[in-house]
């Protein structure tokens, strides 16, 4: 009894100590709850909302690209897709098996679907097939009861109805690459496409519009439970090009299998009506992603179809440069309008000979006739008198060797050499002989076809600056408005020298001795004035000169000359300028001039300002032998 009282006292003491400890620990719990739910409540409330609220981006329809007359050259096509939601089917394999009996689904696709189905949350749709035909899509819809988990879906893909014809200026869209990620979550959306080149890339922002977004409550697995808020965003705006799609297609076809480019410009507005580069590629192929083999075939193709030659192909201008040399001389007063030079087929300068393309020589020629017949000796003489500095200045004044800022990526600068340039880049002084070579548009000179077109337009319009543009000036511009010239900036060329150049270019095309006489347009009011150019890609050896020059057709393709032609029409009131470059096409008169002639005929025929019966021009034309 006594003992139990001792025990009870001891127990009571210990029990009270224990209770005290429990009370202390309980106080800690209360303190902790107070800390979490009162002091930090706001912070956790924010975190809780971050947890449960998710922003879903709603990309809007990409703007269309139209030609100057509103013809769609890039639009959005319905993309019939098949999605699979793994949680809605008892067996993904089984569903795919049934699907295979309805549409072609290769092993690679099947593996990808199974992999994605495993990796993602089971309610996330997996893309099985894209770009199905309507028949296939309809067949799957009919068999829906046998295809648990399959969800037919209509998305949008970019479609370029004219394919290859306009591939370079418009460009193409494709999936976003890791380097193109900017942190914009829109770009991280699966299947999102952005412009990869051309206008699609340059005008990406306008075409894309503003993505809308939807604020949804999600659970821990990311499944949307309900929408809390929605903002629709803005669909992408359409872009109207200056390009005339029919002309573009005509020019592209006209180039045939040649590698080269055609540029057609309005000499007053700078509107580029055609910007053709050949060979080309199918921009639609990039949409769904190219296979490795397709990409390799395109990028390793010997004629480089991906290169936009019209703006990034750099060529020596050859004889098309002679207008610059003549203008430089006339403007500087170094030569007069009746400057005459005797051509014996070659001249000696320093310790070497400079040859004319015509072995026997042209005899005594005036400046105008020298341009008409493209006499090289004459221009060696003019160049020598004028000097490289003034030639270079005039070339740049007319837009050669200067980027035109046409607004799409990949434009090359070209090169107009100068003494300073040579000293800096090559560390050598300028030789007078190089001035002579520059005088006939060879040597270090490099220009792009677009620059040649700008040069020609500025000569044709009487010496006013034009800036080439691919975007139509006014979305609703009617023809009447377009013909009214906008305020113009004069290049400071005198009228006299310019009209001499015009006369000479007229003779090139319309005089029987002119180098492009065979590629003239006879229709009154549509006549061309132009200039041919032939550029050697390989130095002519002494041995060849002494025996016989191989004809272009006899040489391997790579060694053939580039053919060039620049021109404008109609001669009496210039409206359209053209520049044609045919790579390794042989002489400019035989390869480039006929293309330019046909393109200029087509653009004038299509001129909505002209009243011309369809077929009138064709009937009037005589076939030309080249």
């Amino acid at each position: 009894m006594q003992q139990d009282i001792v025990r009870q006292k001891a127990f009571t003491r210990r029990a009270l100590i224990f209770s005290g400890g429990a009370a202390a620990l309980t106080t800690v719990l209360v303190g902790r709850l107070y800390y979490l739910q009162v002091i930090s409540a706001h912070r956790y409330r924010v975190l809780a909302d971050e947890n449960r609220i998710s922003w879903r981006l709603l990309p809007r329809t990409r703007g269309r690209i139209l030609d100057r007359f509103g013809v769609e050259v890039a639009r959005n096509r319905r993309n019939y897709r098949i999605l699979l939601i793994p949680e809605q089917t008892p067996s993904v394999e089984r569903t795919l098996f049934v699907l295979r009996s309805l549409v072609s689904l290769d092993d690679r696709d099947q593996r990808r679907v199974l992999r994605d189905a495993q990796r993602n949350a089971s309610f996330m749709p997996v893309t099985v097939l894209e770009d199905l035909s309507w028949e296939e899509f309809a067949r799957i819809n009919v068999h829906m009861p046998d295809l648990p988990g399959v969800q037919p879906d209509v998305g949008e893909t970019r479609f370029y109805p004219y394919g290859q014809s306009l591939a370079h200026p418009v460009g193409y869209v494709g999936p976003v690459s890791p380097e193109e990620q900017t942190g914009d979550p829109l770009l991280e959306l699966p299947g999102f496409r952005i412009g990869k080149s051309g206008i699609e890339k340059a005008r990406e922002k306008v075409l894309r519009g503003t993505a809308g977004n939807s604020q949804v409550e999600v659970n821990a697995y990311g499944r949307a439970i309900r929408e809390l808020e929605r903002e629709d965003g803005e669909p992408g705006r359409d872009i109207r090009l200056s390009i005339d799609m029919e002309l573009q297609r005509f020019a592209h076809k006209r180039l045939g299998n040649e590698a080269g480019s055609v540029v057609v410009m309005d000499v007053h507005t700078g509107d580029v009506l055609a910007l053709v580069s050949a060979p080309s590629f199918d921009p639609n192929a990039f949409n769904l992603g190219l296979s490795v083999e397709q990409w390799r075939a395109l990028s390793r193709h010997p004629r480089a179809p991906l290169v936009h030659r019209a703006i990034s192909g750099q060529y020596a201008p050859g004889s098309t440069f002679k207008m610059i040399v003549a203008l430089a001389g006339l403007e500087a007063g170094v030569i007069s309008t009746d400057h005459r030079v005797f051509c014996s087929g070659k001249i000696e300068f320093g310790d070497r000979f400079f040859h004319c393309w015509k072995k026997g020589g042209h005899g005594k020629l005036s400046l105008v006739n020298a341009i008409e017949q493209s006499c090289d000796v004459h221009f060696y003489d003019v160049a020598r008198r004028v000097g490289i500095d003034r030639i270079g200045q005039m070339a740049k004044r007319l837009g050669l060797g200067v980027p035109t800022d046409i607004g799409v990526e990949g434009e090359k600068d070209g090169l107009v050499p100068s003494r300073e340039w040579k000293r800096e880049r090559l560390g050598q002084p300028w030789h007078q002989g190089e001035t002579l070579v520059t005088g006939i548009g060879q040597g270090y000179l490099l220009v792009t076809p677009l620059q040649l077109a700008v040069m020609t337009a500025q000569i044709a319009n009487g010496g006013f600056r034009v800036k080439p543009t691919l975007i139509a000036h006014e979305p609703q511009a009617s023809v009447q408005q377009a013909t009214a010239p906008p305020p113009r900036e004069a290049l400071g060329l005198s009228a006299g020298p310019l009209s001499l150049i015009h006369r000479a270019m007229d003779l090139v095309s319309n005089s029987p001795r002119g180098t492009a006489y065979r590629s003239r347009i006879r229709k009154p009011g549509m006549e061309i004035a132009g200039k041919t150019g032939t550029v050697q890609v390989r130095r002519i050896t002494k041995a060849e000169r002494q025996t016989r020059l191989l004809k272009n057709e006899e040489r391997p393709w790579r060694d053939r000359d580039h053919g060039l032609f620049v021109g404008f029409a109609p001669f009496d009131s210039p409206r359209y300028a053209v520049a044609v470059v045919i790579e390794h096409g042989g002489g400019g008169a035989s390869s480039a001039a006929p293309v330019a002639r046909d393109v200029l005929a087509e653009v004038q025929r299509r001129d909505p300002g002209r009243v011309l019966a369809v077929g009138e021009l064709v009937a009037d034309e005589t076939p030309t032998e080249i």
Partner: protein, 385 residues
């Protein structure tokens, strides 16, 4: 001897009904209220449905509640005599789990007994308290001071703790250990022994670390810096704190909790149910539940202090200690005070065995209350029934 000195109620034999009548109805009411809070929370977790969790939990509570009343009515002398036997059965079951146990939730914890499954480690929680109460009841107060007298009870603790650790179930092992240490303390074991034991335990930490499972080590490491790995193993603690903290003072309202309903905390109906309650009912609700627990604890302690036999005192206080450790560790765990160790919230968490354990425990506490004036002799052979 002392038996004959008074003629008060405790000396007489009571019928079953009389005993039930003697029940501490205040404690019964508190238990029912707490269980009701649990049902309401489960109802909210299942999105306003009784189908998912509530109906099954109701059945379990019914079974446990009946068991509690039966246990409460059984004469305390029976519990004294049966204490070692119950302990032996519980130990045998633990061994059985080791041999034939079903693997559930990644750990061997259950014995399949046909219609229902038994978690022997839960049974052991009660059995260990019973056995230790019986042991310390049986030795003289002076003997408790002798270290050699502590060898047997220490083994009685160590063996089941090791078995449970091997399952592996760190939470239950910890509960067993803390409950047992409390019993040692209450029985009057000298304080220096605790000091020595703590030092030994600290010295053993490197070895224990070696034997811990990877996920257990992970949990302890994550506990030390949960924000470093928000999507990995620290996810539970962080999400629990977000849900709880975002509840604020008055909560988001019943059925209005966003975090819990949107599954940011998986398996919230079991160990993390307090999070849900605190998110929806706020600090007010959380403290309300805590207050209920504290009042129940005070009831149990008062019953222990009031008991006139050492067995009853130790039993009631041991159950009280176990109960305290339960709710303290659970709430401390979901509020990020201690590592995540898989301890359910008593009477509220979904799960049958823990519910029954707690109710049977309270049944024993009530039995102690009903038989508070029964004097039990130290030695079993001198008992007169």
């Amino acid at each position: 001897m002392a038996v004959r000195t008074s003629n008060n109620l405790s000396e007489r034999r009571l019928t079953f009904v009389q005993r039930i009548w003697q029940l501490n109805w205040g404690l019964v009411l508190l238990i029912v209220i707490t269980a009701l809070i649990g049902f309401a929370t489960l109802y909210s977790i299942s999105g306003g449905s009784t189908e998912t969790w509530v109906s099954r939990q109701l059945i379990r509570f019914g079974v446990g509640f009946t068991l509690m009343l039966i246990v409460a009515a059984v004469d305390i002398r029976f519990w004294l005599r049966a204490a070692f036997l119950i302990y032996g059965v519980a130990l045998a079951l633990l061994v059985a789990v080791e041999v034939v146990g079903t693997v559930g939730m990644g750990a061997q914890r259950w014995v399949d007994l046909g219609p229902f499954q038994l978690q022997p480690s839960e049974v052991m929680k009660i059995a260990l308290v019973l056995a230790l109460a019986r042991y310390f009841h049986g030795i003289a107060h002076e003997d408790v001071a002798q270290s050699r007298r502590l060898v047997v009870p220490t083994l009685m603790v160590i063996i089941p703790v090791v078995l449970v650790l091997r399952q592996p179930d760190l939470g239950t092992a910890l509960l067993l250990l803390i409950g047992a240490v409390s019993m040692f303390f209450l029985a009057g074991v000298r304080l220096w022994i605790f000091g020595a034991a703590i030092m030994a335990a600290v010295a053993a930490v490197p070895f224990a670390w070696h034997y811990l499972h990877d996920y257990q080590r992970e949990r302890i490491l994550i506990f030390l810096s949960p924000e470093r790995d928000p999507l990995g193993a620290g996810y539970h603690i962080l999400q629990s704190k977000i849900a709880l903290g975002s509840g604020g003072v008055f909560g988001k309202g019943f059925l209005q909790g966003t975090q819990s309903h949107l599954n940011f905390l998986p398996e919230i109906q079991t160990d993390f149910i307090f999070t849900m309650l605190a998110e929806e009912l706020g600090l007010v609700g959380a403290l309300g539940l805590l207050a209920l627990y504290v009042v129940m604890l005070i009831y149990a302690i008062a019953i222990a202090l009031r008991s006139r036999n050492q067995f009853g005192r130790l039993l009631a206080m041991g159950i009280a200690a176990t109960f305290f450790v339960y709710f303290f560790i659970n709430i401390a765990m979901v509020t990020g005070l201690v590592p995540v160790v898989g301890v359910p919230l008593p009477l509220v968490s979904y799960g049958g065995t823990a519910m029954v354990t707690i109710l049977v425990g309270f049944g024993l506490v009530m039995s102690v209350y009903i038989h508070r004036d029964v004097r039990l002799p130290r030695r079993a052979q001198t008992e007169e029934l």
